[in-house]
């Protein structure tokens, strides 16, 4: 099955730990950064906790999700670590039948069955009804709002009826499998609304709400994580043993009732907290920590020292994209009109020397990316544009493009529009004569993303030196930029003219990498208010259509349309103490924020 079969994929930075031979016993420790320590153990995760990936890997150590992935470096569902088997779609893609594995059982002896999945979805519905922010994977109109009925048709089969036809790939990969995924919950034990209270009928929405409120309250109360008997009813490879509230470090022991395989061979899994990546590395070097959390690419140069200290260091990107989004509403210097012009976006794209960024800034720990679906890691949906970029680095092409559209290009100074108008060879509608090509570029500080300032600075330098485009850099914290330099947020209106480009980070893709809600008109994350009818249709196909290649078409279109400046897809660096062994795939999965600690062991 999945995890054991992967070997070193192309584009891997460094080398994976060797498998060795397993011994029994011992402790393996995993590092966390303060600020991304587990905040919730109850697997229905609210928005406020959702960007903290460790909450999920922490939860999944104890509770096996319906669908989990990826399979090593392959961006697909790994059925070996999922409760569900591959579902079938029927009735014009409106009925989904999900068969469950029969080998999982709860610590209280109950099997993990269809009711447990129904229980989870009922609770999710209750949570969303209370406040959409309670379920971080919620997208308006989609899961769970698109479910009309859900029923357990047999002990291990669940049937879901959808209100409208959905692309099966979309429903499986983006809705049933996603970060804050669907996790079957112990419906016979957790269906209570108070400690020792009566077991309630959770199919009654009122009860579901009560149960959700109760569990959610306990699930975010870190002080009782370690002691609450509810959380000991687990079906995952581990059971939480202790949780130290002061620094959120924790220990877990193998779950004797774990129905999957392999069963953990060592006796304790430990989560340790560090205030910085540097502190974590120091701990690794001194042997106090076994497995790091994903590190920034700026740590790439340290690979050699770490290796010298006897650690394995490897890096691989997560599926997703980084982009600096254009603000199509920024009227400062008519930037909205300029950026609406495809040629202007193309010119900017030509200025990105991604190869140099990867080499000089990412120190090799990244791959160039030119669209929402990167070339690495490879998915079945990667378009050819991802491999052969439509606008590779070429400043002279940028110059030529601008010149041919009526701009007076003055490298090193300020390029201005000399031929206003919307005809051919003219700047475009709404750009008066003399308009400077100039905008504010917002990026986040090095303390939050070490490369962000550097790539922003490199781009700004190039734009000015080569084409005379003036990029005014402005640093804002992630939270500030995300909440305010965002046309899709209510607070954004106040700041709409404060920014032209927002390089706040990027998005993680689901295994069906549609940009629904990111680039489609009205999408909740369409922060720059990009509007393109063609794209809207393509996204619609990806979500509601039936084509298995819809998402490739969408990605290919976006790579050419440049709705944002795509940035290199950076690697997540993982360092592992050589004493730890395991199948390569289990280590590769770490680069996608997936912990599969059951595969690891202490080498003999």
């Amino acid at each position: 099955a999945g995890a054991q079969s992967s070997s070193s994929p192309p584009g891997l930075f460094g080398s994976l730990p060797t498998a060795g031979t397993a011994s029994t016993g011992g402790t393996i420790s995993v590092g966390f950064l303060t600020g991304s320590t587990p905040l919730t153990i109850f697997p229905i995760t609210a928005d406020t906790d959702a960007s903290v990936y460790t909450s999920f890997s922490f939860q999944y150590d104890f509770f096996v999700p319906l669908y989990n992935g990826p399979e090593g470096a392959t961006q697909e569902i790994d059925y070996a670590v999922s409760v569900g088997k591959k579902p079938t779609f029927s009735d014009n893609n409106q009925t989904v039948t999900i068969p469950l594995n029969t080998n999982y059982k709860w610590s209280n002896g109950q099997p993990v069955d269809a009711n447990d999945l129904v229980f989870d979805i009922d609770l999710i519905k209750a949570a969303v009804k209370e406040n959409p922010a309670n379920f971080s994977s919620y997208t308006p109109g989609l899961f769970p709002a698109d479910i009309t009925r859900i029923s357990a048709t047999s002990k291990y089969t669940v049937v879901i009826h959808l209100s409208k036809p959905l692309n099966p790939n979309f429903f499986l990969n983006d809705e049933l499998e996603s970060e804050a995924a669907i996790v079957p919950l112990p419906s016979t034990a957790w269906n209570v609304d108070s400690a020792g209270g009566a077991h309630l009928d959770y199919t009654n929405p009122a009860n579901a709400k009560k149960i959700y409120d109760y569990l959610n309250k306990l699930g975010t109360s870190v002080a009782t994580f370690g002691s609450n008997p509810l959380w000991k009813i687990a079906d995952g490879p581990f059971v939480l043993k202790t949780f130290n509230t002061t620094n959120s470090s924790w220990t877990a022991t193998p779950n004797p009732d774990f129905g999957g395989s392999p069963k953990p061979a060592y006796s304790e899994l430990e989560g340790l907290t560090f205030t910085s990546q540097t502190a974590m590395l120091n701990a690794l070097k001194s042997g106090a920590l076994d497995i790091s959390s994903p590190l920034d690419p700026t740590y790439a140069p340290q690979a050699s020292t770490l290796r010298a200290a006897g650690d394995s260091v490897y890096a691989y990107p997560d599926l997703g994209f980084f982009d600096a989004i254009f603000n199509f509403k920024d009227t400062t210097n008519h930037f909205n009109s300029i950026i609406s012009q495809l040629y202007a976006r193309q010119a900017l794209a030509y200025l990105e020397d991604q190869a140099a960024y990867v080499k000089g800034i990412y120190k090799g720990a990244a791959v160039a990316a030119y669209g929402p679906v990167p070339s690495v890691p490879r998915t079945p949906f990667t378009p050819s544009d991802a491999i052969n970029p439509p606008y590779p680095y070429n400043p002279s092409k940028a110059v030529a493009l601008l010149k041919s559209h009526g701009w007076n290009v003055v490298p090193g100074a300020q390029t201005t529009c000399t031929k206003p108008g919307s005809g051919a060879g003219e700047c475009g509608a709404g750009i008066p004569k003399g308009t400077p090509f100039k905008f504010v570029w917002v990026y986040i500080p090095a303390s939050e993303a070490p490369v962000a300032p550097l790539t922003s600075e490199a781009f700004a330098s190039e734009a000015k030196a080569a084409v005379g485009i003036n990029v005014v850099l402005s640093q804002k914290t992630f939270n500030f930029a995300f909440a305010n330099y965002n046309d899709a947020a209510p607070a954004g209106a106040k700041y709409v003219n404060d920014w032209g480009v927002n390089d706040f980070g990027g998005f993680t893709d689901d295994y069906w990498p549609t940009t629904n809600s990111i680039f489609n008109t009205g999408g909740t994350y369409n922060q720059g208010a990009y509007h393109d009818a063609t794209l809207d249709q393509l996204v619609h196909n990806s979500v509601f259509g039936n084509s298995a290649s819809a998402v490739t078409a969408e990605a290919s279109y976006l790579a050419k349309a440049v709705p944002a400046l795509f940035m290199p897809n950076n690697d997540l660096i993982i360092a592992v103490n050589n004493k730890v062994g395991g199948p390569a795939a289990s280590f590769l999965a770490l680069t996608a924020y997936q912990d599969l600690p059951q595969y690891w062991y202490i080498k003999k």
């Binding site: 600020g35 509230t245 002061t246 205030t275 502190a279 001194s286 939270n479 909440a483 947020a489």
Partner: protein
């Protein structure tokens, strides 16, 4: 005496209330929206208005300030939406460790600075004095993180004398106390921040005292030099230090932010630093407020201590 203390305390309370109001205003002015922070992706006009109403952010600023101060008096500093806990609980968790770190650093700084300052004053303009002055100035001019970095690089990573960071086994204050080796570098870093200014101050204060006639008189009585220093000089020269210690509290707290994040030590400074990255306003507010109150209290205690220790200060 009691009258003085009572009056001084009332003044401190008024200043502390002022601090709370100013801090609230300041953070409000910097334009953080707690609703945006709390609601995340689902932040929109309607949810925000609802949320603001629920949490009292729709009231006039003055009322908000009064409410905030009122709640702060009751040790209720609000709720951290990012961390999902009441701020008071978060602070409570970390306060002990930070107090230990700062306290130990302060004590260490005093233990070094007081004898050093006196020795420098007694042997002034000697080679030793120059060297000590030079070192003091260097330390005083060194950003704490730079010093910490050098210490980590040389003492921990190169020479392996101390651990480079505070390990996971130090989670309670008591553990911090019982792991002196792990705490050595953070304490030294933090202490170095203050030891320099303390010893400079002690030196000049000791120089002043040495020039006083009562020192000459003590010698004229036939006292040994050591007795002159311990019985007559020490107390008089140390009096100004009390005030300085009170004044050094903000510096220590600021140093905590640096030191704690540098050495992986979970304390208030780190809490603040994380909150800053997350724009976790309730924590920012509370920490700044506590910093202010500690400063006020520090000054208050220093004033009272000086009054107790210095018989010249008239208390009526």
């Amino acid at each position: 005496m009691t009258g003085y203390i009572v009056r001084r305390c009332i003044a401190a309370v008024i200043i502390a209330l002022g601090v709370a109001a100013v801090v609230y205003l300041l953070l409000n002015f910097t334009g953080g929206s707690p609703a945006a922070a709390a609601l995340g992706n689902h932040y929109n006009k309607i949810t925000a208005a609802l949320w603001n109403k629920q949490h009292g952010y729709d009231k006039p600023l003055v009322v908000q300030i009064v409410d905030y101060v009122w709640n702060a008096i009751h040790l209720n500093f609000g709720y951290s939406y990012k961390q999902g806990q009441s701020v008071a609980a978060l602070l409570n968790e970390d306060a002990g460790r930070t107090a230990y770190l700062s306290g130990a650093a302060l004590v260490l700084a005093l233990l070094i600075a007081m004898p050093l300052g006196i020795a420098q004053a007694v042997k002034r303009n000697s080679i030793g004095d120059y060297v000590a002055t030079g070192v003091a100035f260097t330390l005083y001019s060194m950003p704490a993180f730079f010093l910490g970095l050098i210490l980590i690089q040389f003492l921990a990573l190169d020479l392996h004398v101390f651990p480079a960071f505070v390990g996971d086994n130090v989670t309670t204050t008591w553990q911090a106390v019982t792991h002196p080796l792990e705490m050595a570098l953070p304490i030294v870093t933090l202490a170095a921040l203050t030891v320099a200014s303390f010893s400079r101050y002690m030196r000049s204060s000791a120089l002043d005292a040495l020039a006083q006639d009562y020192i000459r008189l003590a010698r004229a009585k036939g006292l040994r030099e050591r007795a002159v220093l311990t019985r007559h000089l020490l107390r008089n020269a140390s009096l100004p230090m009390i005030t300085l210690v009170g004044l050094s509290i903000p510096g220590l707290l600021a140093g905590n932010i640096i030191t704690e994040s540098l050495f992986n030590y979970p304390g208030l400074g780190l809490l603040f630093y994380d909150a800053l990255q997350n724009l976790d306003y309730p924590i920012l507010l509370a920490y700044t407020l506590i910093g202010g109150i500690l400063t006020v209290t520090g000054n208050l205690i220093a004033d009272i201590a000086v009054a107790v220790a210095d018989p010249r200060i008239r208390l009526d």
